[in-house]
Structures are given as C-alpha cells and as structure tokens.
Amino acid sequence: MAGVTLDRITKVYSGDQRAVSDLSLDIADGEFLVLVGPSGCGKTTALRMIAGLEDITGGELKIGDRVVNHVPSRDRDIAMVFQSYALYPHLSVYDNIAFGLKLRKAPKDEIDRRVRTAAKSLDLIDFLERKPRALSGGQRQRVAMGRAIVRQPAAFLMDEPLSNLDAKLRVQTRAEIARLQRELATTTIYVTHDQVEALTMGDRVAVMKKGELQQVAPPQELYDRPVNLFVGGFIGSPSMNMFEATLRKEADGSLRADLGGQSLTLDPELVAARTGLGAYIGKPLILGIRPEEIEDAAIDPAAPADRRLRGVLKLREALGSEIMAHLEIEATPGRTDDSAELEADLGLSALGSDDTRVATLVARFSPRSKVELGQTVEMRVDTRNLHFFDPTNGLGIYERPPADHPPAQPAATQAAGDDSVSQPEGANS
C-alpha cells in the first residue's frame, strides 16, 4: 500500500495535442480519489499514465516513494479495472482472478485461498468454473474487481468501471465498490464522467477540463465552494443556474443583485462571508443559483418579498419526491466557453435559446407545489447560498484577495472572451 503522487504530469501527443497539462495531485495512502470531467478532459489519459499504459511526456509520477515514470506496468504494483472489464475469454472465472498471482509465481494454496476469499466477498463463489461469456454484466464487473483485489496491489486504478451496467445495478455496484475500498483501505484512483459517482464515492474529487485540473476537494466542498464557473456548472444535478447580474449597494448597507428586471437581496450572512464581493459593487458578475435553493413561493409564503424571482413555467417534471420546474425568466444567461462546453457535454446545446434577454432557470420544487404550465410563478430564493463568479476569468468570488492584488488570473481558468465584459479590476475594494 502506498500513496500516489503526480507532480506536474503532462501528456503531449504527436501533433502538439496536449491531453494533460501540469497535473499535480497528491493522493494519500488509502484515499479514494475520483477524477471527473466531461469526455475528452484527459482524465482517462491521466489514469493510463499512472498505469504505465501511456508514456509520460513530462513531470514525475511516484507510487509510494518510488519514481515510476519509466517502470513498466507490471512492476508498478497496481491493478486496474477496465471499462470493458477485459476478462480473458478463454479462462474460467477462477483462472481469470488467479491469472496475476500465477504470473507472480505465488504458491498454489496461497493462490487458492486468496481467490476464494475474493470470490466470497464478491459473491462469485458459485461461478468460479464458468467462462466470462456465461456471466451477466454485473458478474463480469465483479470478476474484474476480483482480479484487481486478489493481487493486493499498492493502488487500484478504475476506468469508468460502472458505465456498462444498467442504472439499477450501477447504484448497487457503486455502493459495493465503495464498501470494498473502505475495507481494503487501498489507495484508489477512479475515473468517471458521472458526477454522482464522483460525489458519492470519492474521499476527494478532482475535476478536470481540457487536460487541466480545476479543483481537488472533498465532495461537499466542491459543491459548496466551486473555484470557478466550470466546476460550479459541472458539479450538481441539475446544473447551477447562471445569470449575468450587477451588484448594487442599498442605503441600508445591504447588497442587491440585479438580474434583468428583477433583483435579489443577498443574505447578510453571505455578504459577511464573501468579503471579495466588495470589489464588484456596480459591476457585472455572474450569479449562480442552485436549483435546490429555489422553491415555489406558495409553499413558503413567509419568505421575504425581496428574495423572490418570477418566471413562466415552461416544463414541469414530476419525479415524485420533487418537481423539476423549468422556467423562463427575464435575465441574461451567464454563458461562457465553460458553460457552452458543459452544455455540449450534456447534449444540451440545441436547447439553449439565442435570445440573450431570456434565461432558462431550473428549480427543484416541493411535490406539494401546484404550479402549472404557462403560469407565471413566484419563487423564493434562499440567498444564503448563492454563488458569484468573475465574468472575466470565471473564478469564484469568495474572501477578499490580499489588498494590493487584483483577483488573480490563473492559467487554470480562462473565461470566455465573447460574453465577458471588460472592466477595471481592483480599482475600489
């Protein structure tokens, strides 16, 4: 068992394609780290470099204390679960699981003992003599897991191991893998494009975009404090609503965010926590509201009038436990390259309206809500949990940056040129 350290790992394919840029991660011994991001973000390439299936163009990779950049896969002491499972079709389940141990010339009774222990914990005892083709998808997946755990490696690498399972089995297997990983306490690096898997399984989650690491944090922090627009939009389902807004200071000292013709008073608690907001008064920024912070005002009539939005209900998806309400509101959608990419990844690009004066807002209403299609709906917004992003660089706005520093413009995030509004930065704070 060992930790895994990536120090500015870079992968450049021929033709100057940068698949992974300067990826640095420090994965502790026994940690479950999830690499997540839209397709083509380099997460699989990163995993394959750790596995030794791809050459590392630059940077240093350590497993334990050993630099393994040039160590072949078989000597890295890792096990990998492939998306396709990659079971050996001509071998029985038993031989599939035992394959790695046999190659390492483990004693026969030791192999037998370990294979049976693994098979028992994966509920495969009855299938040991079968060939992979006689197994169901879930069983094949478990054989692939068994092949990994039986070796007792320093680290597990998993490349979307659940994506070939149907939805129900996926949820079940997700829990099983998480349980197994806790029991074995083996360092695990898990690649997925599914944020639910990422949030539910990972001790920490690393979000990647176009080969660059955006943020590494425990799931809750990722959700509560996304460092930029991309992470904010990627984590959470349905996605965070984003609008262009302007901050205004009221006579009583409270802050209001104007979006379109409407405005929201920010909760004083939030204003106190987000000291960085002071620099944006009178300037455009991007306001993010999670669907779960928006409720049908009829459900919560006590909500103050200055924390409400109005919109026309265009689509109503009743899920039993909640109602997913899609509304059109008068505001400018906070579109950036990032959000465009997210939409493309979700296959939504066709749905976005071209009218920049009308934005779509998604809210999670209580199932008791009586809203109907076409209705103008009054919604209350919990303004204690709003998110703010700088429109020029897409960075999240949290604490005030050190006095003489304008908000840093890190290489990691480059917001769109199109819809960003140029503005003097740090002029008054």
Partner: protein
C-alpha cells in the same frame, strides 16, 4: 432535389412485401419458396457430383482385382457377386517406395505447417501489437509478397539450395513451403490479432505478464480458430504439392512425386497407382473434416466478433 425525389418511392414500395411476407407464411408460400430455391440447389448438387465422379471412379478402380482392371468397368465392384478386393491396397503397403514417400509427405506437411503457424503467429502478433520503426512499411512489403508466384523462385532457390546443401532434403522442402506460406500466414494472423481488444493486452501487462507470456498464454489460445484455418490451408497445400518437390528433390520423394514417377508411360500399373492416389487424397480430406468446425470459425473470425 434529385436525391429527394429518388428517395421518395423507396419507402412506399419497400414495406409492402415485407409486411406481406410474415402474414401468409402458409403451405403455398413454403412450396413457392422451395421451388424458387430448388433449381439452385439441384445445380449445386450436380456440380458436387461432377466433382466427385473422378474420386469415386478412382476409388472403385482401386478396388478391382489387378487382372480385371483393364478389361472390366467400375460397376463390377457393385455388381453381384462383387469382385471388390483390398489386395491393391495391400500391394501399396508392400511397396517400400510408396510407403516411404507417404512418410516423407507427412514429415513435410506436418513440419512445414507447424513451423509456419509458429512463425506467422509471432510475426502477426508483432505486426499487430508491438511498436517498432518501419512496422507499417514492412507489413506492406509482406502484403506485396502475396502476389509473387512461387514458380519464379524455383530456379534461383534451386541454385541457392545447391550451395547450401539443402537440395533433396526434407528440411529444404519445409523451408521453401514455409517461405511461400508466410505472407498469407502473417496477413491472416495479424488481422486476427488486431481484432483482439487492446484492453485484454493492457490488462495482462498490468497483471504482470511479459510479452512472451501474453503471446503464449493469451494470444495463442484466443487465436486458435485462425491458427486452425491457417494450418489446414497449409497442410492441404503442401500435401498436394508436386512442382516444388519435383524441383528440389531427387530421392526425397513425397507421395505425389512417387506416384508420378511410378506411372509407366506404356504398360499400365493402374492397380498400384489407383489405390496410392486414393490414399493421398483421402488423408487431407480426413484432416479437413476433423478440423472443419474450427476452420469455419476461423474464416468468420474478425468479421463477426
């Protein structure tokens, strides 16, 4: 415009027969279908029969007693009382030259097949999965060699064999057959290996397998269908070879050459030639039928799965 108007009638005509067919799948349609297919099937049976006649004729002839062969027809074998006898076959096995030539043929056919399969599989694996400079160019050269007829090489290689003391040896014949079987063998094996999912190899590498282990423990077992078809092809081809052995051997005669040389220009020894020829035909047939199933699998391999 043109494509749109051309597409138009297709949906209207196509569904009609498709919808009609499953509805009335009664007796009449079955008869209709059979009569439509029957001419083709009868034709194929006739072709097969025509192909079999010489073989059957040879077989019946080989069963006739030596003194009757020149006077009587094959029907005497099935007439009552039958004159069929296996005496001719006994004579073949008593003929030392023929027996030893059968043995030589077996050595050549089996030896060159085993060697070819091994080399072709190794080379095919390398072409499919190992990275080395010039790999693709080299593979194109191998493909190019497919079109070289072996006749053009007979004389040059004859002279090489003379210098290398390979003339008139079983090894020389084996090497020649392997050399000319390799382009096709490599082509077949490489295309089979390429179809094996990459994940399998990577998984084996991570599991701790070296390239040699991957080849013998993973690739060869998976490639059995392809190997079977390649082996059958090569075995049949070299078993029936005449020209190569005729060129490169004087005393090391395989069965084809031996039968050829025992043919007398005038006086007939058909009572020996017939059973010997039949034997030389039946052995590859037995091999073919024994591996028929893997053979069919092998031809489908890569296209279906």
């Amino acid at each position: 415009m043109t494509t749109a108007s051309a597409d138009q009638p297709v949906p209207s005509t196509k569904p009609a027969p498709a919808a009609a067919a499953p509805k009335k799948d009664g007796f009449a349609t079955k008869i209709g279908r059979w009569t439509r297919r029957a001419p083709l099937q009868i034709f194929l049976m006739l072709v097969a029969l025509a192909w079999l006649v010489p073989t059957l004729g040879l077989f019946f002839t080989s069963l006739l007693p030596a003194d009757l062969i020149s006077q009587e027809g094959w029907w005497k074998v099935v007439s009552d009382p039958s004159v069929a006898t296996f005496a001719n076959y006994r004579a073949v096995f008593d003929n030392e030259a023929l027996v030893s030539s059968l043995w030589v043929t077996l050595q050549i056919a089996v030896g060159n097949t085993v060697l070819l399969v091994l080399v072709a599989a190794l080379a095919g694996y390398a072409f499919a999965w190992l990275e080395f400079p010039g790999r693709d160019a080299l593979f194109v050269v191998v493909i190019g060699l497919l079109v070289v007829p072996l006749q053009v090489a007979l004389i040059p290689i004859f002279s090489i064999y003379n210098d290398a003391h390979l003339f008139d040896t079983v090894l020389g014949l084996i090497l020649f057959h392997v050399a000319f079987g390799l382009p096709f063998g490599i082509f077949l094996m490489r295309n089979f290996f390429v179809g094996i999912p990459k994940d399998l190899l990577e998984s084996a590498r991570i599991d701790g397998a070296s390239e040699i282990t991957i080849f013998f423990k993973l690739m060869l077992p998976l490639a059995l269908p392809a190997i079977a078809s390649l082996a059958i092809f090569q075995f049949l081809w070299t078993w029936n070879d005449l020209i190569v052995a005729l060129t490169f051997a004087r005393d090391t005669k395989p069965i084809t050459v031996e039968i050829f040389s025992q043919l007398r220009q005038f006086g007939t020894n058909i009572e020996l030639i017939a059973p010997a020829s039949f034997l030389s035909m039946i052995i590859p047939l037995v091999v073919f039928f024994a591996f028929q199933k893997s053979f069919a699998n092998g031809l489908l391999a890569g296209s279906v799965k």
